[in-house]
Symmetry: C2
Subunit: 156 residues, 2 copies
């Protein structure tokens, strides 16, 4: 446990340092709001909507008085710089997660909304192959599997 926490802290410190470097490169400023947004995204295990992220930050740092516009602005900026990635979720808007991890896809439970991540090499390579066959210059991809998760199946 102690080890996990330490590793986690070290990993976050690296993320933060990289973030600062990026800001400097682009002549952007390192603000309290940006720091707390990155931190909250990092320590949250979930995929967050801008609204949910806003709530979390208001609860933990009420004195920051962070506005929702700043959340949106920062998430956009983080996404443009490939630090976070977003997942479109039908009409319910977007959810964001730190994207510094390895690429992965999502399995979404249509009952409880839980999102499970997975990585599959066969699919990764196949996607590149398909894009190539169509003369398509692939930039990104996303795949979602919708269904009922194990827990929800058992509850019936």
């Amino acid at each position: 446990m102690a080890t996990d926490f330490t590793e986690r802290t070290v990993e976050y410190d690296k993320l933060l340092a990289d973030f600062k470097t990026l800001l400097k490169e682009k002549a952007l400023k390192f603000t309290n709001q940006r720091e707390k947004i990155l931190e909250t995204l990092y320590y949250s295990q979930e995929h967050l909507t801008p609204e949910a992220l806003h709530q979390l930050i208001k609860e933990k740092y009420p004195e920051l008085n962070a506005g929702i516009a700043t959340i949106y602005r920062t998430l956009s900026m983080l996404e443009d710089n490939n630090i976070v990635s977003s997942l479109s979720f039908g009409a319910q808007g977007k959810k964001y997660e730190l994207g510094a991890k390895d690429h992965h896809d999502h399995m979404i439970c249509t009952k409880c909304g839980e999102i499970t991540e997975f990585v599959d090499e066969v699919i990764e390579t196949q996607q590149h192959k398909i894009a190539d066959e169509h003369g398509f210059k692939m930039q990104d991809h996303s795949m979602q599997i919708y269904g009922i998760c194990k827990t929800c199946q058992e509850q019936q």
Copy 2:
């Protein structure tokens, strides 16, 4: 050509008949608006936004005076009954298409917004395999490849 048209008409007639049956089963009514929406979706080769669908119907059937609310309501109903499926398109909203066709995935050009459909057996089977491995009861899935299409690459 004549053959194509005939086949197409026959196929649409079947779709329409099935739709009527569904409505009857659910004690819903067969209205002019619902018919024109289904028809327009069927004869359109494109993935349509609710707004675009509304425009098409206003142009072709001005006397219907169809309201945008009806378009949304009908698309929802059709989607709930697996007659159409929608494709979330980031911040730009949703696009709808008839879902009675074979399953397929999408390749989306981030420059011009063009959507190309494709079917890939390797991916289809792999998806089932992944869901099984996670004890997930798969209901549906969607995959999008984002990138620059051939035409847009050539224009640069």
